[in-house]
Symmetry: C2
Subunit: 196 residues, 2 copies
DNA sequence: GTTCTTTCTTAACCTATGTGAACGAAAACC
DNA sequence: GGTTTTCGTTCACATAGGTTAAGAAAGAAC
């Protein structure tokens, strides 16, 4: 596997080392690609046929509702996977957009190759199962947080869990991720700065 | 497999039939259990060592925050799996409670047996991977909905997607699932009844 | 450097949802 | 069948967060 960073990530998730055969299979299935800042990886209405593993840079996925508000769904930096799950896993048209926040270098894995990969070596089924389990736990936590805590609490929690995101991601996107308007986040930050 | 309903569900998810060996493995790993109404399957603070597949009845998981509000996280009826994901998959103490809403008959799969099962036949890794993919797509949708739509929209959407839940689950729990108070749901329902 | 664009902040006012309390209707219990 | 909880509704009032608009600050483009 040419991408040492990915292999390390996978082995950490799996809790066991990845055999050479599996590595070579992955290499045959995925390819590397680079994007400038503000380029679209996925557009709503079209099928999202790829999942992306970020080697360098940052992306985010967002959804635009009927009112026209943009809502960040997920942020992804180095060592994160990102895709439109509903579209990629079920082959439906995507509802979200995925866009780079910075110049980004990433690995691209098509749905077809993903399925082939899982068929060629059972460790791939296992790796993605475990990856999804972890993601699921995070999403549950996020849902609880979103439905039961106020905006200030959510922002404090976000800053605590993802301090590196705070530095790299524009505030108005963080606001939309938290389910509030940029003006409200500005107000909340001011209050926090005062009372600590 | 003694539980035809589960086998059907699994094969539908997998898109292929489950070999006899895999069925027998599952039978050796899981056992059936029955609960009365309002019994606790999981308590916060303790490890949640099981995941549950509901054969008959209904359960829900909820989280109680510092203010003491109860917030429904997930509802589960026949053919749903339910667990505290963070606790079950990572072995941490549970943060949520899982409770029966009705007398319930379910299958119990311990974390140990789950892991054994996945090691004995690769189809189990695959089944749970695909199950998790679908769950993930739903949760993404729910997060988007919760952060970008108002309470009325969320209630309409919930009614549309889960009409069978509306009948079986108390309103104050649906309210907490939607992130609002029971009084607000009552008000919203009244408005909807008027304007349609 | 200067200009243009994007992002962040502030403030006044507005609205959806929360709060607390009271009441009636179911449902559970004996 | 009567009693006791639990659940749903309503209302008056409170508040977090949304809206609109304007300007300051920070980057990007030239």
């Amino acid at each position: 596997m040419p991408h040492h960073t990915l292999q390390t990530t996978i082995e950490k998730t799996l809790g066991e080392s990845l055999p050479d055969t599996a590595c070579r299979q992955f290499d045959a299935m995925a390819f590397e690609k680079s994007f400038d800042k503000k380029q679209l990886l996925v557009e709503p209405g079209r099928a999202c046929n790829y999942q992306y593993f970020i080697l360098e840079g940052a992306c985010y996925s967002y959804y635009i509702n009927e009112k026209g508000d943009k809502n960040a769904v997920q942020f992804a930096i180095e060592n994160y996977w990102i895709t439109d799950a509903a579209s990629y896993f079920a082959g439906q048209p995507s509802v979200s957009t995925i866009e780079t926040l910075e110049p980004t270098r990433l690995l691209v894995l098509s749905r077809q190759n993903f399925e082939l990969l899982c068929k060629t070596h059972p460790l791939w089924d296992r790796y993605f199962r475990i990856l999804l389990q972890t993601t699921l736990a995070h999403l549950h936590y996020r849902i609880v947080n979103t439905t039961s805590e106020n905006a200030e609490h959510r922002y404090r929690e976000f800053s605590r869990l993802y301090p590196h995101f705070i530095q790299r991601i524009p505030q108005y996107l963080i606001a939309s991720y938290l389910g509030i308007k940029p003006q409200s986040l500005s107000r909340i930050r001011k209050e926090i700065a005062h009372k600590g």
